[in-house]
Amino acid sequence: MTEIMELPQFFDIILHWAAVVCYAAASVANCFGFIFRKKGIDRIGSALVWSGLTFHSLGIVYRWILAGHGPYISRYEILSSNAWVLLVLYLFFARIYPRVRVASIVVLPATFLLIGLGMFTDSALKKLPPTLNNIWLVLHVSFYKIALATLVVGLAFSIFLILKKRSRMAWLERIPDNETNDIFVYRFAGFGFIFWAIAMLSGSIWAYDSWGRFWGWDAIEIWSLVTWILFGIYLHLRRFYGLKGERAAWFYIFCFIVSLLAVFLTPFIDSSIHSSYFR
């Protein structure tokens, strides 16, 4: 353990860059293979995904040991772990529901984008602030990552639904029919709704443990609640008003954009009690 901790931090950077390259190549190969029906290239894409995930996992574990805490303190770590969770969750769902595999067209570029953006942030190791040394914080951030990952998969099917409605491109024939896309959006919105709720509630417990109040109406908390309510409205509209198809897809995309603001933008609002941890 001591020997590992004495290795320079740049190994972490090298592993992450290796993952970035693999993911970028995998995105291209996957899309090319799917669109142009090149099974060989598709298989190369799959191999690149697993290679990238291996490098990525090693990088995260290595940095975890080096820093002494999980990947949720600096922006570099947050973006990297978001990308990792997204990919792992996608692979898990693709295994259980083979029809989800087609979401790779959106998931792989999103993974590459997340980890790639992270490579341009400060990768210096940060020590764990004492208020973050709490199991509820770990659960809080973990469930947000899972929630975001499920919402990205749902986003993929929303995009497919809209594309199939509005375009006659030949490769779209290989994407599931719009009824299936619609169901997948609904299902993943539901998953996202649950995990987002758990993330918010575990955050409340952590806040109560750390600051003596479980809800302070600060910017991050508000936007998180707004996102949850919006997805709640989406699910109610589907269930009780039969909102389906393209309109539902567009509304989902709107809700997804709000979730991105809640996760990535609001931590920078100074008046938020969270902001001191993200500067």
């Binding site: 539901g190 998953f191 443990d209 750390s210 003596g212 109406w217 508000i222 709640g232 409205i233 008046s271």
Partner: protein
């Protein structure tokens, strides 16, 4: 009629959207609980035309405004009515004998109804539920899924009710104590968060800060902060307690939190040319790094200049553990430096026309005190929401009906939510029955 209005889907959606809009407004209008008075005053000057409506509707304190309270109450009432309906439906679905008008497919098999049910239940959790016919069997997968919505909405009700309890009973205050300083029982805490109740919050016991010790990482970031306190009750019984970050203590129903804010107080004696001694305290936050000082700017009655102060955690500039902190004081006449002096504890010197002595150094820490009722209810609500959401989305119930009409068996399948997601299930079940028939013959259920 009121019930129908409140249970109407449109009403519920309108309420949710109205709450959402109000929450969004709280983001546009600076809230008094989150921003300082200067920021709010500046916003009010810039948006003078909106001031009347903001103040009338309480948009500068949305979450404690009457409008928000009314909306939440109406929403809560609608939720309660909906919950009663949902519980009734869930109860009927779980225990009742539901109508069995359902499309069914014939089964070509010599198995009896009971034997087919046995095959279906092998390695799968299908639960037998009552029906209103001897020739019909009903099997349900995930019957607890019927209760998902009820749990989810019950959880929301419980959280809202619990939050009301907390909001109306909460007392929240802070005190900054130097080492050795005591805050007496019955004295209002100096810093109190704006809550619904304006009543001052005082402690039923005295609290003395005996020692506070920070711990640091190798890169000088704070790793932990531990404070030892002596709690003395009116009955004169004393208790030593230790509080740390993420180590909350509960004393007589009051939770004590350690804030991550701490520093050093330097007790300095200024003696002016008239031999008058002016004791002052330089109260400074702890330095962020071993070689970076902490700064402060002070004005003291009796001292004609502005005083700047800075200090390093340790005189060596090489340690965060302040064995021997070094204080530098500067007298400022506007931006002009009048004089400067660096001192360690016990040292003195001349600073301008003053003789100065750093008498002692003491560490300070900030403690938060919270008292309220209702948190267990809030946490129970959290648990119910999570359980309900899980049941709704991860365990949707499906039903299988087995009919025996004059010896001819048929099977029907139904799912409530997300039925297209389980489209393959009825075919899979039928195939399972036929496969069992081929592989095993008569199932040994007895």
């Amino acid at each position: 009629m009121i019930k129908r209005f409140l249970l109407s889907r449109r009403t519920v959606l309108v309420l949710i959207v109205a709450l959402l809009l109000l929450i969004f407004v709280s983001f546009l209008v600076p809230q008094r609980s989150l921003f300082d008075s200067q920021t709010i005053a500046a916003w009010e000057v810039e948006h003078a035309s909106l001031l009347t409506i903001v103040q009338f509707l309480g948009l500068d304190h949305v979450f404690s405004s009457a409008l928000f309270l009314v909306l939440i109450c109406v929403f809560l009432f609608a939720l309660l009515l909906s919950l009663v309906d949902q519980i009734k439906k869930a109860f009927i679905r779980t225990t009742g004998k539901r109508k069995t008008t359902i499309t069914s497919h014939d089964l070509v098999t010599e198995f009896s109804l009971v034997e087919v049910a046995y095959i279906i239940k092998k390695k799968e959790l299908w639960i037998l539920r009552p029906t209103n016919s001897k020739n019909t069997l009903r099997l349900v997968r995930n019957p607890w899924g019927y209760w998902g919505n009820s749990f989810l909405h019950l959880g929301m009700v419980v959280v809202i009710v619990g939050s009301f309890f907390v909001a109306f009973t909460e007392r929240h205050g802070q005190v900054k104590l130097m080492t050795g300083e005591e805050h007496s029982a019955g004295i209002a805490l100096p810093f109190q968060n704006e809550k619904i109740s304006d009543a001052p919050f005082s402690l039923p016991f005295s609290i003395r800060l005996d020692a506070t010790q920070p711990f640091f990482w190798e890169n000088d970031d704070t790793r932990d902060l531990v404070t030892k306190l002596t709690v003395t009750r009116p009955s004169q019984s004393s208790e030593q307690v230790t509080v740390g970050i993420n180590r909350v203590r509960n004393i007589d129903g009051i939770r004590i939190y350690q804030r991550q804010k701490f520093g050093n107080a330097f007790y300095v004696l200024f003696k002016n040319p008239d031999d008058e001694v002016i004791p002052v305290v330089f109260d400074l936050p702890f330095p962020k790094k071993r070689d970076v000082p902490a700064y402060g700017e002070f004005y003291f009655p009796g001292i004609q200049y502005k005083v700047w102060a800075k200090y390093y955690a340790d005189v060596s500039h090489n340690s965060m553990y302040d064995v021997d902190p070094e204080l530098t004081i500067r007298l400022m006449d506007n931006e002009r430096v009048v004089d400067e002096l660096t001192l360690r504890t016990g040292q003195g010197g001349n600073l301008g026309s003053y003789q100065v002595l750093l008498d002692k150094t003491s560490r300070w820490a900030v403690l938060i005190f919270v008292k309220h009722h209702g948190m267990p209810l809030v946490f129970l609500g959290f648990f119910l929401i999570i359980a309900g959401a899980f049941l709704v989305f991860c365990t949707p119930p499906r039903e299988l009906y087995l009919f025996d009409k004059d010896g001819q068996l048929s099977i029907g399948w139904r799912a409530g939510r997300m039925s297209p997601f389980f489209q393959e299930e009825p075919d899979r079940i039928i195939n399972k029955i036929y496969k069992y028939d081929r592989d095993h013959g008569t199932p040994s259920i007895f």
